[in-house]
């Protein structure tokens, strides 16, 4: 294949990765930014979203689109509820201590993973896409559903951005993020904000998973890579910066796609990871973060 189309394909693939990554990472970033909690179990919420999507769409198997839509609504809600319970039972009782919450979320990771293995099983299971339209380009074919993921993700990101910047909920969240004590003094119910943010973060991961599952199957170990990538995106993008998170997700997604055009894939991963690490070393506040707070 010629270089131009090859690059186009790599870019398209990169954008799909970016779209899913942006949603997942945004969830992590909110939790991290507002609560200062490093949620190691974030990838497992992602996995739960995919597994639930399989369960729901299998239960409603009349029409793939119907099952998928039901999953798109229900799976995040269930995951959000689970996150809420976890927040109540564990994180709150730890008073959101950074180190303690890392251990606790590692514990959650094990629990969720094991429950998925026990009840869902070790197989990778597919979910049918709501529609299967193959876009025929002059050089290659491309999945229409993949393009719709990009659109759906963009829509969700804009909606989240509007909520964060234009509504009272967003204001309250930002105030809590800026200074917990002061927010409390101003009568903001910090604990409720935290619970809401944690659940919302998990829901974003679940939505991302439901979107991706028709092209990449549900599997009980699928949460690992999104977790690592999301961490990277959050740090590169700068803490609690929605714009930074999205830009970083696009950057990571595209570079992942495009670097692989030029290098052997494992070498490409080595170079990409090293590059990102170097960015962190020499600009630890991230590319878009402000230097101090």
């Amino acid at each position: 294949m010629h270089f131009g189309p090859h690059l186009l394909l790599a870019a398209l693939e990169g954008l799909v990765t970016s779209a899913v990554l942006a949603l997942t990472a945004l969830g992590l970033s909110l939790v991290f930014g507002v609560m200062r909690v490093v949620n190691v179990a974030h990838g497992e919420f992602f996995m739960l979203g995919a597994v639930l999507a399989w369960a729901i769409s299998t239960a409603i198997s009349d029409h793939p689109a119907l099952g998928f839509l039901a999953a798109l609504v229900l799976a995040p809600l269930i995951v959000g509820l689970i996150a809420l319970v976890a927040e109540r039972l564990v994180l709150r009782r730890l008073n959101y201590n950074p180190e303690a919450t890392i251990v606790a979320t590692i514990g959650m990771l094990y629990i969720i993973q094991q429950l998925a293995l026990t009840f869902y099983g070790p197989e990778a299971r597919p979910v049918e896409a709501p529609f299967s339209y193959r876009i025929l380009l002059p050089w290659f074919g491309y999945s229409g559903y993949k393009l719709s993921i990009i659109a759906a993700s963009a829509f969700l990101l804009i909606a989240t951005w509007l909520v964060l910047t234009r509504t009272k909920i967003g204001l309250v969240m930002r105030a809590t993020q800026y200074d917990r004590e002061t927010a409390q003094a101003f009568g903001i119910p910090v604990e409720r904000v935290y619970a809401g943010v944690f659940a919302f973060g998990a829901m974003l991961a679940a939505v991302a998973a439901v979107l991706i599952v028709p092209i990449s199957q549900a599997h009980y170990l699928m949460g690992q890579d999104p977790l690592l990538l999301s961490f990277i995106v959050v740090i590169i993008g700068g803490l609690g910066s929605l714009r930074g998170t999205v830009v970083a997700a696009v950057l990571i997604g595209l570079s992942d796609g495009i670097i692989s055009v030029f290098f052997s894939p494992t070498l490409a991963k080595i170079i990409a990871t090293l590059l990102v690490a170097m960015v962190l070393v020499f600009r630890p506040q991230g590319l878009f973060g402000t230097s101090s707070r």
């Binding site: 991290f32 490093v38 564990v90 009782r93 730890l94 201590n97 180190e99 303690a100 890392i102 251990v103 606790a104 590692i106 514990g107 959650m108 990771l109 094990y110 629990i111 993973q113 094991q114 429950l115 293995l117 026990t118 690992q224 690592l228 961490f231 990277i232 740090i235 803490l239 494992t266 070498l267 991963k269 080595i270 990871t273 090293l274 990102v276 690490a277 170097m278 962190l280 070393v281 020499f282 630890p284 506040q285």
Partner: protein, 320 residues
């Protein structure tokens, strides 16, 4: 940390070593073998604790130091036929040099960025092992040939595959590292490390070059972890990339947190505890990870300072 009761502390540590020595003669074969492995991995945890517990630097990439030792020792034996001591030294040197390089870069960051940067460097290290599969055996790993695992000391030769020799070698390494750790922690240098953990800015204003001190701590920590890795390769005969994966960066963190952060004996206790929880529960259910997860959460909820940390806080304030 105070100058009080050094005799008590040293007596306790020597007592633990004596106990482990005595156990060699009474333990059933299985537990004997398991304990040898636990002691080697407890060294890994002690190396991790050096940095995490005493300097307050939370790394998520220590698997790279462990596997630097593992491969440094394993590959020199496998490809060049080096002797056991030379291979061990090679592993140690690999870990220390890697730690120096990583420290110089990663210490420019702090907090969460430090966690992520170390994790990413470890990921690079892991991928490099896969990339050079022709040398490293990639994800399958390599078996260190049994005849090469014989330690020749003058006229005597010790077969590291023999259970008793292996146990005693593991105990020797463990004891040395334990006493070195204790000495460091109680030294002036240890006091500076704790000061950096508590308040780095203030420590600078007492005339300490905190960067160099932290760098030294990263190197010491990396070297100890590498010693553990090198011993693992030589004593258990296998090197593989799974030891460089993220999981093996998280494990020492867990062991240390369980046993008691910033306690000299905590890493041993944490490793021991975790191993036996997995070992016992896996006998009853394949869902033992569930139990591990629940145990972690309960521990962090009710014993946030870990087993030994809680004991120190409630009863034995003098524990180092």
């Amino acid at each position: 940390m105070s100058e009080a009761s050094p005799a008590k502390a040293y007596a306790l540590h020597l007592g633990v070593i004596a106990l482990l020595f005595a156990l060699s003669f009474v333990l059933p074969a299985y537990h004997h073998g398991l304990l040898a492995r636990i002691m080697v991995l407890a060294v890994f945890a002690m190396g991790y604790n050096m940095l995490f517990g005493y300097v307050g630097l939370l790394s998520l990439g220590h698997a790279m130091f462990f596997s630097a030792g593992l491969y440094g020792a394993g590959l020199t034996v496998y490809h060049f036929g080096w002797s056991v001591p030379a291979a061990f030294a090679a592993g140690l040197a690999c870990g220390a040099l890697l730690a120096l390089a990583i420290g110089l870069l990663a210490l420019r960051t702090s907090g969460v960025a430090f966690m992520i940067v170390t994790m990413m460097f470890a990921q690079v290290f892991y991928l490099v092992i896969l990339y050079f599969a022709a040398w490293t055996g990639g994800d399958q790993g390599l078996v260190v040939p049994q005849p090469a695992r014989i330690l020749v000391l003058g006229s005597a030769s010790l077969d590291l595959t023999n259970p008793t020799v292996r146990y005693m070698s593991a105990l020797a390494l463990f004891s040395i590292v334990l006493l070195v750790t204790l000495a460091i922690v109680r030294s002036r240098y240890g006091r500076v490390l704790v000061a950096i953990r508590e308040n780095e800015g203030r420590t600078k204003m007492l005339g300490y070059d905190t960067f160099s001190n932290k760098l030294a701590a990263v190197v010491v920590s990396g070297a100890i972890c590498a010693a553990s890795g090198a011993a693992y390769a030589l004593l258990f005969g296998y090197v593989g990339s799974s030891f460089a994966s993220v999981q093996y960066s998280i494990l020492p963190l867990l062991w240390v947190l369980l046993g008691g952060i910033a306690t000299t004996l905590g890493p041993l206790i944490g490793t021991l505890f975790m191993y036996y929880v997995v070992d016992v529960t896996s006998g009853y259910t394949s869902a033992y990870l569930l139990i591990v997860g629940i145990a972690l959460i309960l521990l962090v909820l009710f014993f946030p300072k870990g087993i030994l940390g809680t004991i120190r806080q409630r009863w034995l304030g003098w524990l180092p």
